[in-house]
């Protein structure tokens, strides 16, 4: 079948460096601006001009090629900075590629966020019209779907109220409702699903499923592996701007999970400037240590271990959660645990300083296999400060002995975890009775 989207050797080069270099000021280039205001733009990516010599170039995308068949739902995965957003922006025509070619055989609708162009002062009705027009819908089309949109968003009573008086939930529902009624042949979706409460997310996923069932082509960029594996038949895995894998979703996800940058039980960020985090908090180190306190990368299923994290608080945080997520090799999050779980630190702020936290993972808990640790930190309900994905890789080996609790008896038990649980066994068999 001929592809509906063909992406051929697409590359995008960005200039990184200071804001000054990116903006320029009239003081630097007033003469330039007067004599030939566009000389700098003529070759923005060539460092020939003196004012650009200092800035660095990076390839956000390099020779990305893949194809999408009509009706296919394709996922794009990759870690932060792998080029997912850049690819989506190029496909959506928000920015141009530096080189390469893309052909799309159908009307394209893109959803990089919901509620683009929503204005708080305008009413729900006015925002539907404006947002629809921004997304490329015709006026007649918007009018036709108006009632449906309002019903889907469940905001009938408030349709003539400025949206600034809406609750966050109503606002999100209305914003998504307009987007959901876009009917292009090709739909490009960013992680819109990452926002909103669980029922809303479920509604979004349901709508996406519906769109896919109608035979439309969907390109879906996400971090959410379970959503990806539910929705997408095929996947593209981007790694440092290039396609690392492209094919059937399950195999691509496992490649994605296996492709952690280095397999190690210890990670340190000596330079606080480049360490993951924000103005409040920076990660310093993270390690998996055995009962003797030595960093390890692999452990036996029947031995307990600890996860030790060091972090620096730079600015007082009124409330904080620091901890980690553990994911298995299919991308499923096994659990999240936070230092605020300790009764002593629950709901407490963090004064500036260096913190060392340790969490004990009991023996006979995780199953055999590979796990990935993601560091997370933030101020509850306010902001996510840190989300360092898959910084450590942890291999759980078969237990020392096949005997004992949760013994494998030669095979790995099914399941994500293999906890040793307590059992009560009662036998009501009559004494003396025997059966063969």
């Amino acid at each position: 079948m001929t592809p509906i989207i063909s992406v051929e050797k697409v590359s995008k080069q960005y200039r990184i460096g200071t804001q000054k270099a990116a903006y320029g000021t009239l003081r630097d280039s007033f003469t330039n601006a007067v004599i030939s205001p566009f000389r700098r733009l003529r070759s923005p990516l060539v460092t020939r001009h003196s004012s650009l010599v200092t800035s660095e170039m990076i390839w956000a995308l390099k020779d990305v090629s893949f194809e999408v068949k009509p009706g296919e739902v394709i996922g794009v995965i990759g870690r932060n900075g792998a080029g997912k957003s850049t690819l989506l922006k190029i496909l959506s025509r928000i920015t141009e590629p530096t080189s390469g070619a893309i052909d799309m055989y159908g009307r394209v609708g893109s959803l990089l966020e919901v509620g683009t162009g929503f204005h708080p002062e305008l009413t729900g009705r006015e925002n539907i019209a404006l947002n629809g027009a921004i997304l490329g819908m015709k006026r007649a089309e918007i009018q036709r779907k108006f009632d449906e949109i309002v019903a889907f968003a469940e905001v009938e009573q408030f349709i003539d109220t400025p949206v600034k008086r809406y609750s966050t939930g109503m606002y999100m529902r209305l914003a998504f409702a307009v987007a959901a009624h876009l009917e292009p042949e090709i739909l490009l979706v960013d992680e819109v699903l990452a926002v909103g409460d669980p029922p809303f997310q479920k509604k979004c996923l349901g709508k996406m499923n519906e769109v896919a069932r109608e035979g439309r082509t969907v390109l879906f960029v996400s971090h959410n592996m379970s959503a990806i594996s539910k929705l997408c038949q095929t996947c593209v895995f981007l790694r440092r701007g290039s396609v690392a894998a492209w094919g059937e979703t399950r195999s691509v996800i496992s490649e994605y999970m296996a492709a952690a940058d280095s397999i190690t039980g210890y990670r340190e960020w000596p330079d606080p400037e480049s360490a993951p985090g924000d103005e409040f908090i920076r990660a310093r180190s993270v390690a998996v240590v055995d009962s003797a306190g030595a960093p390890v990368q692999s452990l036996r299923q029947d031995s307990a271990f600890r996860v030790a994290i060091e972090y620096q608080v730079l600015k007082r945080m009124r409330n904080a959660n620091v901890g980690f997520d553990l994911r298995d090799d299919s991308g499923v999050t096994v659990f999240r645990t936070l230092d605020a779980d300790s009764p002593e630190w629950s709901g407490r702020g963090r004064e500036p300083g260096l913190y060392k936290i340790e969490c004990t993972i009991p023996d006979h808990f995780l199953n055999e296999g590979r796990y990935y640790l993601t560091l997370v930190a933030g101020i509850p309900f306010i902001k996510f400060s840190l989300n360092a994905e898959d910084v450590l890789v942890l291999d759980i080996e078969p237990p020392t002995s096949d005997e004992g609790p949760a013994g494998r008896l030669g095979v790995r038990r099914p399941g994500i975890i293999a906890p040793a649980l307590e059992w009560q066994v009662h036998c009501s068999q009559q004494a003396g009775e025997t059966r063969l």
Partner: protein
């Protein structure tokens, strides 16, 4: 894959708006890195004309929402300015006004001037103010400054009603010259669009534009015969004043309204200058457009 080579225009183009639900034989959307100068793609802008309409509507609505006097502001601004000018320059300084009552003379000049200055200011800041749109969704970027300028045209129309009232009050005779008025409005709009569009694109890269703009507008007003008639300028300076296209335009408005003779050479010069500027601004805009999303 050889079609990549054979198709010309290394540009992004919407070739077909309507097609079947599945793939069509020709790409609906082609994305290629574009060269130095690209085509204006007016067709693409036409396809998004409804967006211009909605953005204009938004701008007009927002300007007067949550204001006590609402639409009255559209009228108050030129009227109060006219009153101040009449007192200051008409009565105190005694600037001649070519035999027309000074209030009427000043208002007829202020009306197009206020439209122009507002359109250039709003247009010039429009792209930077729409960063959230530019980085999130595709549409021809030119739609944004166009909508900003068109929104000012609405104010212009409302303030025009006052002019009609003033002319009735002073019992000004309407002559056949009035037929030039639509042409003059079009010319003013195109000139404002040319300046506004060019500045808006420049403003994305050099934020200084936003800071310099109010100052520039202020100076420009004094260089334009609004509070004084062109006849007041010494003959040796007149050709210099004529280089300002607004001179021909504003004098043209007065000629159209009060039935005096048109200065065709000044008007012709303004028209030629406006067209040249508009074409240049549009191409320059298209050229700078490519990096908007990356630097805004």
């Amino acid at each position: 894959m050889d079609r990549t080579e054979t198709l010309p225009s290394p540009d992004i183009a919407v070739l077909d708006q309507r097609s079947d639900l599945r793939s069509s034989a020709h790409p609906v959307v082609r994305i290629r890195p574009s060269g130095k100068w690209s085509a204006l793609n007016l067709r693409d802008i036409w396809a998004y004309r409804e967006l211009i309409y909605f953005l204009t509507l938004r701008d007009v609505k927002l300007r007067y929402k949550q204001t006590l006097l609402g639409v009255t502001w559209i009228v108050l601004q030129p009227v109060l300015t006219m009153l101040v000018f009449t007192l200051l320059f008409g009565k105190l300084v005694g600037i001649p006004s070519d035999g027309i009552p000074y209030a009427l003379f000043a208002y007829a000049g202020l009306l197009p001037w206020l439209f122009f200055s507002k359109a250039v200011t709003q247009g010039g800041n429009s792209l930077v103010g729409s960063a959230n749109l530019i980085t999130k969704v595709y549409f021809p970027r030119m739609v944004i400054p166009v909508a900003a300028v068109v929104a000012c045209l609405v104010d212009f129309a409302v303030a025009f009603v006052i002019l009609v009232g003033l002319m009735a009050y002073y019992k000004t005779a309407v002559t056949v010259n009035i037929l030039m008025l639509p042409g003059l409005v079009l010319l003013t709009t195109m000139f404002a669009l040319g300046v506004g569009m060019w500045l808006s694109a420049l403003n994305v890269r050099y934020r200084d534009v936003g800071a310099v703009l109010p100052f520039l507008i202020q100076l420009w007003m004094f260089a334009t015969p609004i509070i004084y008639p062109l006849s007041l300028a010494p003959p040796k300076w007149r050709s210099l004043v004529m280089l300002n296209p607004l001179t021909g335009i504003i004098e043209g408005y007065r000629a159209a309204l009060f039935g005096s003779a048109f200065d065709w050479s000044a008007l012709g010069l303004a028209a030629v200058f406006t067209m040249a500027l508009l074409v240049y601004a549009a191409f320059a805009f298209r050229r700078m457009e490519k990096t908007f999303a990356d630097i805004v």
